[in-house]
């Protein structure tokens, strides 16, 4: 019989498998360090938690051909200016609440999760909160008593009461406000914010 050519031999593919895997993994590790440092809170892509003291918008950037978050003037949350540590504490409470209440198994956050309820990436900016004066109060009431404040748009799908306390609700609102300021490379596209109406 003829000899097996190199490209069909076991040892050739064994070596290839090892080198390809090691190479790909090495590149991933390098990119991971870079991505994590570029996305730590307080950087350009992921703002500091104290961004909850500011006005946040999301508008189309014609030069970049995509929607971009825009961080504006002061626009306090719950009428209070939070220091960086306080803001982080509040957002942390909110983030833990979203995990403890399992939000992600109905909603998507940054587009990941379940598809039974709306995406929360830009929930803070949604026109569903009618206007900016009513927004904070509506959000708190909704989170604490979703079954009574449901706007199901005729779908009958109501969020259940998850026993969210007032403090937790405030944390969640802060978390949502902070999340809406993250630069998500233009996702979601074509989103019209609550500011657009003014």
């Amino acid at each position: 019989m003829n000899e097996t050519p190199v490209w069909a031999s076991e040892s050739f593919w064994k070596k290839t498998a090892i080198w390809v895997t090691a190479g790909a993994f090495l590149i991933l590790v390098v990119l991971t360090f870079d991505s994590l440092s570029q996305t730590s809170a307080g950087g350009k892509r992921v703002p500091a938690y104290s961004v909850i003291n500011k006005k946040i918008d999301y508008v189309y950037d014609a030069k970049l051909h995509k929607f971009m978050p825009v961080i504006g003037e002061q626009e306090l949350l719950f009428g209070k200016e939070f220091s960086e540590t306080e803001a982080e504490q509040l957002v942390m409470l909110g983030k833990k609440t979203t995990q403890a209440k399992n939000c992600m198994n109905c909603h998507t956050l940054l587009g990941n999760g379940a598809y039974y309820a709306p995406d929360l990436t830009k929930a803070w900016l949604d026109q569903g909160w009618i206007n900016k004066e009513a927004r904070e109060k509506m959000m708190i009431e909704f989170l604490m008593h979703p079954e009574k404040n449901a706007r199901t748009f005729g779908s009958n799908r109501k969020m259940p009461n998850l026993g969210i306390t007032e403090d937790e609700a405030k944390g969640v609102v802060a978390f949502l406000k902070w999340m809406s300021s993250i630069d998500t490379n233009g996702f979601p596209h074509n989103f019209k914010t609550i500011n657009a109406e003014e």
Partner: protein, 495 residues
């Protein structure tokens, strides 16, 4: 009825059941006995998965169904967690099954392995009970430690994470010590390194982070590097071994193929991770890297189809376990279509911008998980039951062969039907919610209320029922197949 009576009654029905199934454990080696324990729990969890999937699917049509008692979030969590866990049980079972034969010696530390099985199963039971009965907690660490972590697919609370890691370490010890005592082979080497990576990935998902971009970054390390890298390679190992055992393919051929698959799969899948880093806040270079490498991921899946079909064809499909071979073929195609084709369809960022987080993902998720991982496990269940029955002939021509054929047909047609229904829903969502309405709250519901979405949910429900009945038939078949068969399997000759 008091506790004692209840206890006696269940013991009595248990022994009745044992007489009925008439399976004889003495047909199995010690490692195989542990493997079938894992398989049994896997099948029970598979059943739970579909049961809770049906409830969740019902809630899409009747949102008030069990509202406030078992909300969608709970049902969905149980649905996908049961899936991940039963598949892992299946994989662990497969590994114990082939360990002795592949290493040529008995399993080192089997007693510890047995103990680990009971610990893991106890923990899983407890976790599920807490999911169902306690459901949610306050927004504090204690909830994440003891109730659930609220992170899709890996919701298990932290205490369970740690338990799982310990059990995995014991499992590794069994695997590594056994191969070291017996002999190593190409298959053994790939298997061991892959298991190390698989468990290592899991630890990336065990930390709390307030920064959601970082949190999702690591979360995808677990989910993506599992299903599109380590699990895929594990299936390659199981497939290689099965082709050798079932069809008598030469070891050198399957080993070479296995290395090719590893190179292609890890070469594309590791950096393909980037297709989840388009929109979570991570830098723009991921659009290019993720798009490019994930677009290559179908290549190894094509290679796997070619491999399986070529080997099966060149051995004229001659084998004595027809259901297992049928499910292996289903795996090759299901993996290719579910992961390769359905994955490719939405993996480029230009498209993913509109499909991301819609029923599109669910369509792909169903066909991929079923096609790639449910199928291979089912194939192995048939392999196991054949030995458990004492190595009897299992063909398409035996008395109750309609059962496995119908189970195969119903399960595959059911999942395919659900996949198509969800694809239609996903298209509609991409157009209306994503492209036109810009993913607002109102746009979301405009898409959900659209007649094509609503009818898709009804179709999904019926195809779900078809899938579920397929599973019930499958379980019945697994318990009864080969019962009255006296013909023995033929010796498989490697050539």
């Amino acid at each position: 009825m008091n506790a004692k009576e209840l206890c006696e009654k269940s013991r009595a029905s248990m022994s009745e059941f044992k007489t009925w199934v008439a399976l004889d454990v003495s047909n199995l080696s010690p490692g195989q006995q542990l493997a079938v324990k894992y398989f049994s729990v896997a099948v029970i969890l598979f059943f739970a998965q579909l049961l809770f999937g049906m409830i969740a699917a019902t809630q899409f049509i009747f949102p008030n169904f069990l509202y406030g008692w078992l909300d969608f979030s709970v049902n969905r969590m149980v649905h996908i967690n049961a899936m991940v866990v039963w598949m892992l049980y299946g994989f662990i079972g497969c590994t114990y099954w082939l360990l002795e034969e592949e290493s040529g010696t008995e399993i080192v530390g089997l007693k510890l392995g047995e103990l680990a099985f009971w610990v893991l199963t106890g923990a899983v039971t407890l976790v599920v009970l807490v999911y169902l009965l306690i459901q949610t907690g306050a927004g504090k660490d204690s909830t994440l430690w003891f109730i659930n972590e609220g992170r899709e697919y890996i919701e298990a609370p932290r205490w369970a994470d740690i338990g799982i890691v310990i059990v995995m370490l014991i499992f590794f010890y069994n695997v590594v010590a056994t191969f070291s005592k017996g002999k190593w082979s190409g298959i053994a080497g790939v298997l061991t390194l892959d298991l190390v990576a698989l468990a290592g990935m899991y630890t990336a998902g065990m930390f709390y982070m307030t920064n959601i971009t970082h949190e999702q970054f690591w979360w995808w390390w677990v989910i993506h590097l599992w299903v599109e890298a380590t699990w895929e390679v594990l299936v390659g190992v199981i497939m290689a071994w099965s082709l050798m055992k079932l069809l008598g393919v030469k070891r050198q051929i399957v080993t070479t193929w296995l290395y090719i698959e590893v190179a292609l799969m890890f070469g594309s899948g590791i950096l393909g991770l980037g297709h989840h880093y388009f929109w979570i806040g991570t830098p723009e270079y991921w659009l290019a890297i993720g798009g490019f490498f994930s677009a290559l991921e179908p290549i190894p899946l094509v290679a796997m189809v070619v491999h399986a079909m070529y080997d099966a064809g060149s051995h004229s499909f001659k084998n004595s376990n027809h259901p297992a071979v049928a499910w292996i073929i289903a795996q090759a195609f299901g993996n290719f279509f579910g992961a390769g084709v359905w994955g490719f369809m939405h993996t480029l960022p230009q498209i993913n911008l509109y499909t991301h987080g819609t029923q599109w993902s669910a369509s792909h998720g169903h066909l991929a998980f079923f096609g790639a991982y449910a199928t291979i496990n089912i194939a192995f269940f048939y392999l196991a039951i054949q030995h458990w029955r004492g190595g009897v002939w299992m063909s398409g021509g035996t008395a109750n062969a309609w059962r496995w054929k119908w189970a195969l047909g119903l399960l595959n047609a059911g999942v395919l039907g659900m996949t198509i229904a969800l694809l239609i829903a996903g298209y509609e969502q991409s157009f209306i919610e994503r492209a036109t309405e810009g993913s607002s709250w109102g746009g979301y519901f405009a898409a959900q209320n659209h007649p094509s979405f609503q009818s898709a949910m009804v179709w999904r429900w019926f195809f779900g029922l078809m899938t579920f009945s397929g599973l019930i038939l499958l379980i019945w078949d697994l318990l009864t197949i080969g019962k009255d068969e006296t013909r023995k399997v033929q010796e498989i000759i490697q050539h």
